[in-house]
């Protein structure tokens, strides 16, 4: 008998029928096995076995017979499941000796899509209780066997079963939350006395209300209301805070920066946008003005692309954060022009080392293993359920992301040119479609603009959102049908800031009047301003001409999707909010959108003072190659890729994994957006977190080059590529962080002009610092570049796996001895030296020439060289193709050290290895005449990779199986 059992939470027994469904004891339980594995990782050795059960709570108004038949017919599978039933408020029997129960259920008010699905089913099949309301809740239960101490049970519960930010965790089955949050109505206007407040009080007000407005901004708001001679309402103040947030307004990138004696007025406009403007590509249809960049694909068919960051929500709840990241960016595509059909998703994660010792985890942060598994599952479950293939992405590891993981999600859509333009006309009705509004996600926009801390988990739990992909899929189905029938004139998504941002943006030039009582709510008790700023997911706002509204509402109703008129666009140039007839806010659109003060920020940058380590010698380059193949930033991502449906829609031409065994990491994906055309679209990305601290300018040109050289490698035309920027930086109020951002932005400008590659959209996240006590941890400057580029004819697409023995292996491009930030330096434990930025003068012509050669079908395989350099790329091509290679490599010039190792492992950009059949060699060589090109050797029958040095000595001789095994890695997702 344990006396001091620390029960984490004790909740009242639910006044509901409780059904628990387990797999039969003789059925293998994969979820249980996963928990056992996780427990071993956490050092909970006593856990012998775990079984997972699905739990359902049902209205006490049901009779026992009714619940039994529901359980038997719908909840349990007759072949593989077994189930138990407990009456309302009945204590489950004490688990047997040695058995502990851990239960998790979402807290009241947190989305539970499964429960809503079951409710809809029970209504549909007419199995409701006497009062008509099934009132379903769900929970998860794990039954643990083994001599587990209370600490063990708590560890398993907290780290493997429940996320206590959004879920209640209870042990041994006492109670569970049930029902919707209770709350009295707090509707109506609330005024906030502001005019008489001191600057200090204003700052305090902003902090306490989580408005994230700084002193200057609060003073501007105060001045505005002083001039109006009235106090603001809470709804007005919240609207201003949302609209002016860094997340929505990009105040840093669009602000004024002083850098090394230069005054930069609007960094974004003077660098990235300036390059796009100067390039003035006629195939750019819509850039930087809409929810996504839109470019021509073929004839009157265009493609649009957007990549979003969802960093802070993913730090608090990796699963929900990443899932709603995908959900959000899909809505960007639905909200681009009049809406596009999504054809591909991308994702990129930057997380801490998976082998981080537990005692090095900052207080309040989740372990990188849990973060990565959670975000992968989030993207998987949302993306797969949307029916959009996740075809490209990346994962990078760096200790700088331990407190602040980065999560990027992207979507590509297809649309016709006639659907690019949108307009709102006064008199159009404001129609909200999709999910209901709840308290979820309140203050998401302002939350994402502040730094995380050890308390973020508790303070910001309501900023977390849970997704419901099926609702979003239904919205997609109906919306695109409505688009094709011409039922609306404009659309945007409800993202950060909810209705306040969506309606505020759409009505910026006209004016809008909204009646909040029309908004369907998930549960009662929301205040007026909460309805207005809620970031509940899966909602879109349409501008609908009055004469089409009936047809539009009927269309959505016909597929069980809620659509309601919540107001009217006006010509008042004001945003007017009513709730149950009372005016709760009235804002001047001009002040709302243009009233943000533009502070001047200082920026500096100093190159870190590190000695140049040169190229430390490699005693055994073959062993070093195996070690680098197994490094976190190089090793296989197969465990992730296979969980994503990358085949749905049947458009895939080049997949994320290629080769005879499907284990070769492809440089990019190709999809065929138009069924009747052989034109393809390559989707690629580039990033390198090892470079940013050393040289942000070179890091940016390298990343742009990587995205483009990946595109070239699979057969895409680099002269028609369009790219996106995603900046994630530390706190840019600090001059050194801002200085590196300025340099990276300048690099984007210079590279875009040099390559002739316009940026068409982007997104920044500029407050990625984690505070523990007095210490802050900033992420390394991280620029993700994502690219879309046309493949003129998919029949000439190229994959990276070697195809056959006896072919020539060429190295295209120039290798040099710059090893700063390289994997080889990481392996040797040194840091410093020069980051290999791209040669902007020569790289573009080389890319164009190689593309022309590939488009003529002259290559059998092509692989880009990036992390780990030549040796890693060739090793990957060998094991992917099951074909050996024998090459000779001359040393390159290095400042000090081993020129041969540098030739193998340097990460110089704009390089590829290309496999060419004997009969095509002369054509290939003349296609690349005048370009840096070297014949390295040949592919071989023997399954080995052999590399000789300049003197002819055999320095690397490794079997393909050893290469494959080293690359495969050991981490189990």
């Amino acid at each position: 008998m344990t006396s001091a059992r620390p029960v984490p939470t004790r909740l009242p027994l639910p006044a509901a029928w409780r059904v628990e469904v387990f797999l039969r004891p003789d059925e293998f339980d994969p979820e249980g096995a996963r928990l056992e594995h996780g427990a071993r990782e956490l050092g909970v050795a006593a856990l012998r076995s775990a079984r997972r059960g699905r739990g359902y709570l049902l209205s006490p108004a049901y009779s026992r017979i009714e619940v039994e038949s529901i359980a038997r017919e719908f909840l349990a599978d007759p072949v593989v499941d077994t189930w138990r039933l407990y009456a309302p408020s009945e204590s489950p029997p004490a688990p047997g000796p040695g058995t502990r129960r851990v239960l998790a259920a979402v807290l009241p008010g947190v989305m539970d899509p499964e429960a809503r699905s079951v409710e809809r089913l029970l209504v549909r099949v007419e199995r409701t209780p006497s009062d008509g309301e099934p009132r379903v809740g769900t929970f998860r239960v794990f039954e643990l066997e083994g001599e587990l101490g209370d600490d063990d049970v708590a560890t398993v519960g907290r780290k493997l079963v429940a996320n206590e930010t959004i879920e209640a965790l209870v042990t041994d089955g006492e109670g569970l939350p049930y029902g919707v949050p209770a709350g009295e109505s707090r509707r109506g206007a609330v005024t906030v006395p502001l005019r008489e407040a001191s600057p200090e009080q204003l700052v305090e007000l902003s902090r306490d209300g989580q408005l994230s407005l700084d002193r200057t901004e609060m003073l501007a708001v105060q001045a505005h209301y002083r001039a109006l001679e009235r106090e603001p309402t809470l709804a007005e103040l919240e609207t201003i805070a949302q609209t002016w947030s860094e997340h929505c307004k990009h105040k840093t990138l669009t602000g004024i920066v002083e850098f090394e004696g230069e005054r930069i007025d609007n960094l974004l406009k003077s660098t990235i946008k300036a390059a796009t403007d100067r390039l003035a590509k006629p195939w750019c249809w819509s850039v930087f003005v809409d929810n996504a960049g839109i470019v021509e694909f073929e004839g009157d068919v265009g493609v649009c692309f957007k990549v979003e960051t969802h960093n802070h929500p993913s730090a608090i709840d990796p699963y929900g954060g990443a899932g709603t990241g995908i959900g959000g960016v899909v809505r960007d595509i639905l909200g681009a022009g009049l809406g596009a059909r999504p054809v591909a998703n991308t994702d990129a994660f930057f997380v801490g080392p998976l082998d981080l010792p537990d005692d090095e985890l900052p207080k309040g942060a989740m372990h990188p293993r849990r973060i990565l598994r959670g975000v992968v599952a989030g993207v998987r479950d949302y993306g797969n359920r949307m029916g959009i293939p996740t075809v490209n992405g990346g994962v990078w590891f760096h200790e700088g992301y331990v407190g602040n993981p980065l999560v990027y999600a992207g979507t590509v859509g297809v649309m016709r040119r006639e659907h690019v333009a949108k307009e709102v006309r006064p008199g159009d009705l404001i129609v909200a479609v999709g999910g209901r509004t709840g308290r979820d996600g309140i203050h998401g926009a302002t939350f994402s603009s502040i730094e995380l801390s050890e308390h973020s988990e508790t303070l910001s739990s309501h900023a977390v959102q849970i997704g419901d992909p099926v609702t979003e899929k239904q919205v997609l189905d109906c919306m695109l049908e409505a688009r094709d029938r011409g039922l609306y004139r404009a659309v945007t998504d409800c993202g950060a800031g909810g209705f306040s941002s969506a309606v505020g943006e759409m009505g910026e030039k006209t004016g809008a009047e909204v009646h909040l009582e029309s908004v369907p709510l998930k549960y009662p008790g929301l205040a007026s301003h909460e309805i207005w700023i809620s970031e509940a997911q899966e909602r879109m706002v349409l501008a609908v001409p009055r004469e089409r509204v009936e047809e539009l509402l009927a269309l959505f109703a016909s597929e069980d999707v809620e659509a309601v008129v919540i107001g009217t666009f006006t010509d008042s140039k004001r945003l007017e909010l009513y709730d149950r007839g009372e005016l709760v806010g009235s804002l001047d659109m001009e002040f709302l959108h243009d009233g943000t003060p533009r502070p001047v920020r200082k920026a500096v940058w100093e190159r870190p003072d590190l000695p140049d380590p040169g190229c430390p010698p490699s005693a055994d380059p073959g062993a070093d190659l195996l070690a680098i193949l197994g490094r976190p930033n190089v090793q296989s991502r197969e465990w992730i890729v296979r969980q994503y449906d990358h085949e749905v829609q049947g458009r895939s031409v080049v997949k994320p994994l290629v080769g005879v065994r499907g284990d070769g990491p492809s440089d990019g994906a190709i999809v065929r957006p138009v069924d009747t055309s052989t034109r393809g679209l390559a989707i690629t990305c580039g990033a390198n977190p090892e470079y940013g601290d050393l040289d942000p300018y070179a890091m940016a040109t390298w990343a742009i080059d990587e995205a483009l050289r990946n595109a070239v490698a699979v057969g895409a035309d680099p002269t028609h590529a369009a790219i996106l920027d995603n900046f994630s930086w530390g706190n840019c109020n600090l001059p050194d962080r801002l200085g590196s951002l300025v340099l990276a932005a300048k690099a984007c400008h210079d590279a875009a002009l040099a390559y002739g590659t316009p940026f068409v959209s982007g997104k920044d996240s500029l407050n990625n610092e984690y505070r523990v006590g007095d210490r802050t941890l900033a992420i390394p400057p991280t620029l993700l570049i994502s690219s879309i580029a046309p493949v003129p004819d998919v029949r000439n697409a190229v994959t990276m796996d070697l195809k056959a023995a006896g072919n020539a292996i060429y190295l295209v491009g120039t290798t040099d001895g710059r090893l700063g930030g390289s994997q080889y330096h990481g392996l040797r434990g040194v840091r410093g030296g020069t980051v290999p930025g791209a040669d902007l003068e020569r790289a573009p012509a080389l890319m164009a020439a190689l593309h022309r050669a590939l488009a003529r079908g002259l290559a059998r395989s092509c692989h880009d060289l990036s992390e780990g350099g030549l040796a890693v790329a060739l090793a990957e091509s060998c094991f992917a193709g099951g074909v050996g290679a024998e090459i000779a490599v001359a040393p390159v010039e290095v400042t000090t050290g081993d020129g041969f190792a540098a030739a193998l492992f340097a990460e110089s950009p704009t390089r590829w290895i290309v496999e060419v059949e004997e009969r095509n060699r002369s054509a290939f060589e003349s296609a690349l005449e005048g370009m840096p090109l070297a014949l390295l050797g040949r592919t071989t029958d023997e399954p080995r990779l052999r590399v000789k040095d300049g003197s002819g000595a055999l320095r690397v001789d490794v079997e393909l199986d050893a290469l494959r095994a080293a690359h495969h890695g050991r981490f189990e997702g």
């Binding site: 719908f74 899509p113 359920r385």
Partner: protein, 276 residues
């Protein structure tokens, strides 16, 4: 049957067969499925379950009812459970009658999961809780997206040429066929085992974990697809509609010239059978 009805049915059988691709909340392979039918010579229409429930007579005009893949109702409770329950409630015996009258019902992936739940593979007169076959969670505990090889077995679904081996992708988390005791023997005896996971050369795989990943889910006896005793109801986990084009195959850049993907033959066989 009246003379007019006979004439019209004769006429319609010489025209392109009609396929009705049923979609619901969370269905997402309906476009590519419709395209597969069109490429195979049928006329295809995507129809929401609400429309079919309102106008069940739509079934009368079609030859194939196709249940495509996706995540109907978000896989809530279990994959296919809610849509299966809904169709049972809303269409009930009409589906059994449709099959009895010569109609084809084919389900892929989530559509197969719905078919299993509907009980169409086991014939009429069986309550939901008397079902003897299930699609349970993959042995790997994960969603699996990968290419596999299928072999058409000698089964009642004679429209699939027996012995043919073909590549096709799978993408599912709940695809492990499981049978109540004795049920698989009955399915075998009734020639209801239509498709099996095999190796690239068409050879049998070992059962259980040893067959992974060629059998991606650990299905009993590596079964990938089942049919009903008539051969007109068929379900399978893999997605033939994702292998229609020469460039879908994961190793097409290693293979010679190709004109179509191997999945098209599945639809051609189905359409040809439905035409008769």
């Amino acid at each position: 049957m009246t003379q007019t009805a006979m004439t019209s049915s004769t006429t319609s059988s010489t025209r392109a067969p009609r396929a009705l691709v049923l979609r619901s909340a969370g269905t997402n392979c309906d476009f590519e499925a419709a395209r597969a039918f069109e490429l195979a010579g049928a006329r295809a229409e995507r129809v929401h379950t609400n429309r079919l429930a309102e106008r069940p007579e739509l079934l009368r005009d079609c030859h194939v009812l196709f249940l495509p893949g996706g995540f109907s109702h978000g896989d809530s409770i279990a994959a296919g459970r809610i849509m299966g329950a809904e169709l049972r409630h809303r269409l009930g015996d009409l589906l059994h009658e449709f099959v009895h009258d010569g109609g084809f019902v084919v389900g892929v992936c989530n559509g197969f999961q719905v078919l299993v739940d509907l009980g169409l593979l086991e014939g009429p007169g069986r309550a939901a809780h008397e079902r003897r076959v299930a699609l349970a969670g993959n042995r790997s505990g994960r969603f699996e997206c990968r290419w596999v090889h299928l072999r058409n077995e000698a089964s009642a679904a004679t429209w699939l040429p027996s012995g043919a081996v073909w590549p096709v992708p799978v993408a599912h988390a709940e695809g492990r066929l499981a049978f109540a005791p004795g049920a698989i023997e009955e399915f075998e005896a009734n020639r209801q085992i239509a498709l099996r996971y095999v190796d690239a050369d068409g050879r049998d795989l070992p059962e259980g974990d040893a067959g992974y990943p060629s059998c991606p889910n650990g299905a009993a006896r590596n079964v990938a697809g089942l049919c009903d005793p008539s051969g007109r109801v068929l379900g399978l986990m893999p997605h033939p509609e994702r292998n229609l084009d020469p460039w879908n195959h994961p190793n097409w850049t290693r293979l010679g010239e190709r004109t179509t993907g191997e999945g098209l033959a599945f639809f051609e066989g189905l359409v040809a059978a439905a035409r008769v």
